[in-house]
């Protein structure tokens, strides 16, 4: 085909730069503001891209053992425990459903997949969680969203695409179903398991809805709830954190935002290699 025209190249360049800037500017601005001092914020309201007098005062305020620190620990704990539980249950179900000759597997698969098409609704879910005694417990952040049908589909189709000979060979060697899972299937699935774990982890980390619905007691609040209260609704952090803060309110708020985003930025490069494949598998099957 012919070479692209100069005007076309320039046009594309401009649009792409704008697109990248639209994503990058807010994120960089939030990071910059979290290090800003009072004078920086007066100079440029909203977001400070490059603070002239950078200070870590905001982080010291936030991480000094106050409510944010507490919420951070809760979020980390819920993310770790939740991800572990979700991944284990998803592995079990995906493996159990990965062979068509298992009695009743088609029915069970349909039971799971059908939930993608309807949502039980807020009130009945809330009443169920309450009846189960999960209200105001940390388990309410994990249990109601334990398995994602999407991740289940991705993992199941990965298991199904492993060569049949592997299973046969293992069976000839006398391995049972569980042994095959642990010694043959799982070691071959490290990459896809990493992706699914990260998908779950991101969901638990960002989870706001479960917390808002099922946690009345602010003692149990994860980071997302604290963000809502102190950043969006603008309630003062001062009373809750240890001692008087020297940092401007705005950089304190942005520091909380940064703390909430940093873990995602850390896992993102690992996530990125795989998700195209994961998304497409899910889309095809769903």
């Amino acid at each position: 085909m012919e070479k692209p025209t100069r005007a076309g190249l320039i046009g594309k360049g401009i649009v792409l730069t704008l697109v990248v800037a639209a994503v990058a500017y807010p994120l960089l601005g939030v990071i910059g503001t979290s290090f800003a001092s009072q004078s920086d914020i007066i100079r440029s309201p909203g977001l400070v891209l490059w603070p002239d007098h950078p200070t870590t005062e905001a982080y010291r305020t936030v991480l000094g053992g106050g409510i944010v620190t507490h919420a951070l620990l809760i979020s980390i704990g819920v993310t770790l425990v939740g991800t572990a539980c979700s991944v284990l249950v998803t592995i079990g179900m995906a493996y159990g459903l990965s062979r068509r000759d298992v009695t009743g597997s088609r029915f069970i698969l349909m039971t799971a997949l059908f939930t993608m098409l309807f949502d039980p609704g807020i009130i009945p879910k809330f009443l169920t969680v309450k009846e189960l005694g999960l209200y105001d417990t940390l388990a309410a952040l994990v249990m109601p969203t334990l398995v994602s049908a999407f991740n289940l589909v991705v993992l199941r189709s990965f298991f199904m695409n492993l060569p049949e000979e592997l299973y046969d060979a293992a069976k000839v060697d006398g391995a049972g179903d569980l042994r095959i899972l642990i010694q043959v299937v799982l070691p071959l699935s490290k990459a896809v398991l990493a992706v699914i774990s990260l998908f779950y982890a991101v969901t638990y980390w960002n989870a706001f809805f479960n917390a808002m619905l099922y946690l009345n007691d602010s003692e149990n609040w994860p980071l997302a709830m604290v963000l809502r209260t102190f950043v969006l609704q603008g309630q003062s952090l001062e009373g809750a954190s240890a001692g008087e803060s020297l940092a401007p309110q705005q950089s304190v708020q942005m520091a909380v935002l940064v703390i909430a985003v940093v873990p995602i930025l850390c896992v993102y490069p690992f996530l990125q290699r795989y998700f195209t494949k994961g998304v497409l598998t899910g889309a095809i099957k769903g």
Binding site: V19, R100, G121, T128, E164, F209, L213
Partner: protein
């Protein structure tokens, strides 16, 4: 895969149910926790919809609350706030469909046309990222840029224009939501479009180039027809979700614009049921929404399956 293997020896068919269950014991046990989750958190709650027909009192429970017939339904249909919430839901969904839906397609076409692999990968890494950021964070960031003390009003002020705050303007609310959805998910949406673009036969481009078709003609006559099955499929699936516009996103910003503009069906149910303990009416509205929503999704899904056969669904269930 499993279909391609030779059929199992006839003896297998003669196993009784009990024998087959014994054989599959481990596999079924592994499935159990997941199955239990889906039943308890997706199917059992459906029973909770009896509340829609009750004057539900939490301390009495489902068993002892008085029956209310369909009065919960009639009273919510008589509530103007319910119709306002329905109107807002449809308005927001429509704006999103018209304004947001084409964005990933355009972005994918642009990305696809970049010759340099490095540049394309860099842009892709950047635009996929916001998908993983939670709504609370995204709304906070937008607040910082568009909100009263934010970047945009300040810029307008410096230019001598009126300081416009989009986050508190009820008329702009659907647009604000669409803007946020675009920021969060436009890049993510390109994944499926890029995959579809890769599936278009290169030969078609060469043939049409030889026939003298210019760049834009090829886009119009080769690329878009190649994409159309996927576009139609996604459009139908989106229409199925029309009653469920982003709950978290709306809930977080409803107060800023007030319930007149910011109430959607989901937030209506949330505020009436969980905040005001009007369990019966909230559940009734939820039930209506769930039934219509499920019918739309099921209909759309069936329709999409039919249309999408040579699109995304090619090779499905391999």
């Amino acid at each position: 895969m499993a279909d391609a293997t030779p059929s199992p020896p006839p003896a297998v068919h003669r196993l009784s149910l009990r024998q087959r269950l014994r054989r599959d014991k481990v596999m079924l046990l592994l499935t159990l926790p997941g199955l239990l989750y889906f039943v308890v958190f997706h199917y059992v709650p459906l029973l909770g919809y009896v509340v829609a027909f009750q004057d539900y009192q939490p301390y009495l429970g489902y068993m002892h609350s008085a029956w209310a017939g369909v009065s919960n339904f009639t009273s919510s249909f008589a509530d103007p706030a319910f119709w306002s919430a329905t109107g807002n839901t449809l308005k927001i969904a429509l704006v999103q469909l018209v304004f947001f839906f084409p964005v990933p397609i355009a972005l994918a076409l642009l990305l696809h046309s970049i010759v340099s692999d490095k540049v394309r990968r860099f842009v892709q890494s950047v635009v996929y990222l916001p998908h993983f950021i939670g709504w609370v964070i995204i709304v906070s960031i937008f607040q910082q840029i568009l909100g009263g003390a934010g970047v945009l009003p300040d810029l307008l002020g410096q230019l001598g224009l009126p300081r416009y705050d989009m986050t508190t303007d009820p008329d702009a609310f659907p647009w604000l939501l669409a803007l946020q959805v675009a920021w969060k998910d436009a890049g993510w949406g390109t994944i499926i479009m890029l995959a579809a673009l890769l599936n278009i036969d290169r030969g078609l481009y060469e043939a049409s180039a030889i026939d003298g078709a210019g760049r834009w003609r090829r886009l119009w006559h080769v690329t878009l027809p190649g994409l159309s099955p996927v576009i139609v499929l996604l459009l139908i699936l989106n229409l199925g979700q029309i009653l469920s516009v982003g709950f978290e996103q709306v809930l977080l910003q409803r107060d800023a614009v007030g319930p007149d503009a910011g109430e959607v069906l989901d937030t209506y149910v949330f505020f009436h049921g969980i905040q005001n303990s009007e369990w019966g009416t909230a559940a009734a509205v939820g039930l209506v929404k769930a039934v219509i929503g499920t019918a739309l999704v099921l209909g759309a899904n069936t329709f999409a399956h039919r249309l999408g056969h040579e699109g995304v669904y090619r090779g499905a269930d391999r």
